[in-house]
């Protein structure tokens, strides 16, 4: 393997580990701060993951509404660095969400209800964007 290839592999390895660590942190938060004190652990994990995906989804939709869809010569959408920012932000926000829910920051709002509302809004906004831009 050439030195340049080794360097690239190392960089990808670090990126992969960083992503896994962030996801691990989200799941750890879900385990530590379960949505219901006596609720099942899997529920916390699943709902936090749903929250992360929903936020990512909404972020992407907002970017499309704001900038439209720019494509390159291969017909691929150009997002520049938005993808990685959205990725980080969604995990961070979901972590915060899980934390707030766990410590009682959102006492009167069911995490399930919030997740469902976020997903519905996400799907509706994507439907609107698809009608508008494609």
């Amino acid at each position: 393997m050439e030195p340049a290839e080794k360097l690239l592999l190392k960089k990808y390895g670090i990126h992969f580990l960083r992503t896994m660590l962030m996801l691990g942190a989200v799941f750890a938060l879900a385990l530590l701060f379960k949505p219901e004190p006596k609720g099942p652990v899997w529920k916390g994990i699943v709902l936090t993951a749903i929250a992360a995906i929903s936020i990512y989804f909404l972020w992407g939709t907002w970017r499309i509404i704001r900038t439209g869809i720019k494509t390159d010569e291969m017909g691929e959408a150009i997002w520049m660095r938005g993808g990685s920012y959205a990725h980080s932000a969604s995990i961070l926000l979901a972590s915060l969400y899980g934390l707030l829910e766990g410590i009682g920051g959102l006492p009167r709002v069911s995490m399930t209800v919030v997740s469902i509302v976020m997903i519905v809004i996400g799907f509706l906004s994507v439907a609107v964007v698809q009608r508008r831009y494609t």
Binding site: E2, A4, E5, L7, L8, K11, H15, T71, D72, E73, M74, E76, A77, I78, W79, M80, R81, G83, S84
Partner: protein, 67 residues
């Protein structure tokens, strides 16, 4: 068409997203060029050469010519 994009990018310590941003294309397009699944257009090939500061022929090499 063979190319040295991946190796050059690694030497510059750029990610595919970094290079894509400099070229104004998607990361998927950079990946497709690197894995030789897609040959870039002439304007994009010139842009890539300009970004790396080298002539096109130093970046891209045609497969062995037929005949």
């Amino acid at each position: 068409m063979k190319n040295r994009l991946r190796v050059l990018r690694a030497e510059y310590r750029w990610s595919q997203a970094d290079l894509a941003e400099r070229l104004g294309v998607s990361r998927q397009t950079v990946n497709a060029i690197e894995t030789e699944k897609y040959d870039p257009s002439l304007p994009l090939a010139f842009k890539i050469a300009r970004v790396f500061g080298m002539p096109i022929e130093a970046l891209f090499q045609a497969e062995a010519a037929e005949g």
